[in-house]
Symmetry: C2
Subunit: 376 residues, 2 copies
């Protein structure tokens, strides 16, 4: 199997780029003196995760309990499930812990903490619970100075659960596109989460772990004093959203979608390809940002960026490629039927999720099939 | 298994609604005197497709050769692959035909027609080729009056292939929201495709089938003179995009995503749920339309629409629910942690593709698991 023989559409991983991305992040975390816990939701792929662990990562972060189950079955035990615990999922979490998985769960409300305590006591299980901190108003979590923080801590502690630490994610960092703003939001993430840990400790509650992270803040933080570990996911692949944020070049994006030209509308300057949103995802994360890449950046089959050519439209199994600005009246000659191209994605997590396996292209041109999974 | 015991997130099909949608379309096609060939890309689910055939459909439309393979294995032989044929996929199409599948393929250029002829002659296979017609400038196809139409027809015919017919899809119909415009685009689709067939016949070329269709035009066409068959897919489920177009009420939408409330940000009026874009898809098809539903319309677990409550934001496994206009300061009381809700999707094809199976809820409350597939 080689690149030229792959059927299209197909999700490709450039293994050399992936390895460089993984090494870059791990070296940075080592230099900053923190543990690194990759978020595996980006790829849900054991080969990628093994490369992350090989590089020095400590444990993993998951977005579903299915990820926890799959990666525990693959031999990984130190897992944090970084989504607020639904009380109805406690049985599934318990089953993992009873099998020996060192699973950590997350809470950000008294109601949730009480449900964990009630279930834990009934099952005689001391859950390891991390309290979610809201550092930027992005989504979930308790603000560092909010009274709820100690209330949740007290419920867990008095109820016999283990408060393992605090956990924050500066999701708003995706909205910035200059280093000054990224450095500021990284510091806000660090300071807010450290402050929450201090408040818990001042109240006599345990709080060993201070866990923060997002790809942009991890790559731009000036220091991480008080932090014990960082989480990030998309950095292993990178994508056009992260390129807009300013943390990677186009030639560092390790994920792309291989496609074939199947037709043209020459008077419009369109080439039609066999990758639509089913292969790219519907993610339009660069819309309204520094540079709108449509559904993706067009590259040659070998990966050379075709400057100005984007997937400007997508239906389920059709993509429309066009040149920005002046339409390319000769597009049928430039990209004839049968031409194979790579499309760089807006969002590696969303594009990966449209596929059941990756085709991993090694530096020597050999191709391996790396399965991934989806679902819950 | 019943609704209350399903883990979340989960894709639900309301079977009674689905059956009514299927019956409505089939009765309309019967009244208009045309065959109906459902597009199975919406659900990729054998149980749904069997219900469509049971109601009177003749054959199916597919968007990938994998769909053709899967449904041929399930006993369906009359299949049109409605995406322009990539020359490299001809071997896969040949294999299906050699197994007895009555597969029709599509071409819209001389280059593609020549590739089909060359491959067909080399393999001694008379492919059944439908010529794609562009009726609205939406995507692929040859304009009805374009000289290319006869050129493609002549290449196929002289090369010993069978010209089975012409095929058009008025994809632009999704952009309208009033009946007058829909009736006009439906007539444009019909007239353009019929005209292309007439031109082929006038040139002495065969053209038995005149195949058109999209859910909006199928439901709004005033007559279908000269048309032999109609294709449509999303009508079986319907969705919020189609609701904006004006062809279904919210209570006719058969697909929804079941989710659980896992937290709140009360001062913002947010409830956080365990369905994010991984469960809903990234499709924002109602953005910029008559009514923007965000990532979906919130309903109770039983399916009652909660007027004004939308999934206003989505991360991978987190959805943010909020009330439009004035935030709901009591959202934590109205939708406490553990509350189960259904979310109606923007786009049934995209949301379905995020799941590996549907949970089909029958009128008596019983739940069946209906597998679907993805990939190529």
């Amino acid at each position: 199997m080689n690149l030229a023989s792959l059927p299209t559409p197909a999700a490709l991983i450039d293994v050399a780029r992936m390895q460089r991305n993984i090494t870059r992040m791990q070296q940075r975390m080592d230099a900053l003196g923190v543990r690194f816990r990759p978020h595996v939701k980006t790829t849900k792929c054991n080969e990628v995760v093994q490369a992350q662990l090989q590089a020095g990562a400590s444990g993993i972060t998951v977005s579903t309990l299915k990820e926890a189950e799959q990666f525990f079955a693959a031999g990984i035990s130190d897992i944090v499930y970084a989504v607020g615990m639904a009380p109805t999922k406690l049985g599934q979490a318990l089953a993992l812990r009873r099998q020996g998985c060192n699973l950590k769960i997350v809470a950000d409300s008294v109601v949730c903490a009480e449900a964990i305590v009630a279930f834990g006591q009934a099952q005689e299980e001391c859950f390891d619970v991390w309290i979610e901190i809201d550092v930027d108003g992005h989504r979930s979590g308790i603000a560092p100075e909010d009274a709820t923080l100690l209330a949740v801590g007290n419920v867990l502690h008095a109820g016999g659960m283990r408060i393992g630490g605090v956990i924050a994610h500066a999701g708003s960092s995706y909205d910035y596109d200059n280093d000054e703003a990224l450095i500021a939001v990284a510091e806000q993430e660090r300071a807010g989460c450290v402050r929450a840990a201090e408040r818990l400790r001042e109240a006599g509650l345990p709080c060993d772990v201070v866990s923060i992270g997002s790809t942009p803040t991890a790559l731009r933080a000036e220091h991480l004093r008080g932090v014990t570990e960082v989480r990030a996911g998309v950095y292993a692949m990178f994508d056009l959203v992260m390129h807009n944020v300013g943390v990677n070049t186009m030639y560092e994006i390790a994920l792309s979608v291989l496609t074939t030209v199947i037709g043209h509308q020459p008077e419009k300057g369109w080439a039609i390809v066999d990758a639509g949103w089913m292969a790219m995802s519907r993610d339009r994360g660069t819309q309204g940002r520094k540079h709108d890449f449509g559904y993706g950046q067009v590259c040659t089959e070998e990966g050379q960026v075709l400057e100005g050519y984007l997937m400007s439209g997508a239906n389920q199994e059709h993509g429309i490629l066009s040149r920005q600005g002046t339409p390319d009246a000769q597009i049928a000659e430039h990209l004839p039927i049968g031409t194979r191209l790579r499309i760089l994605p807006n969002h590696a997590c969303a594009t990966g999720a449209q596929h059941q396996h990756y085709h991993a292209i090694a530096a020597d041109g050999s191709v391996a099939t790396w399965p991934r999974f989806n679902g819950w």
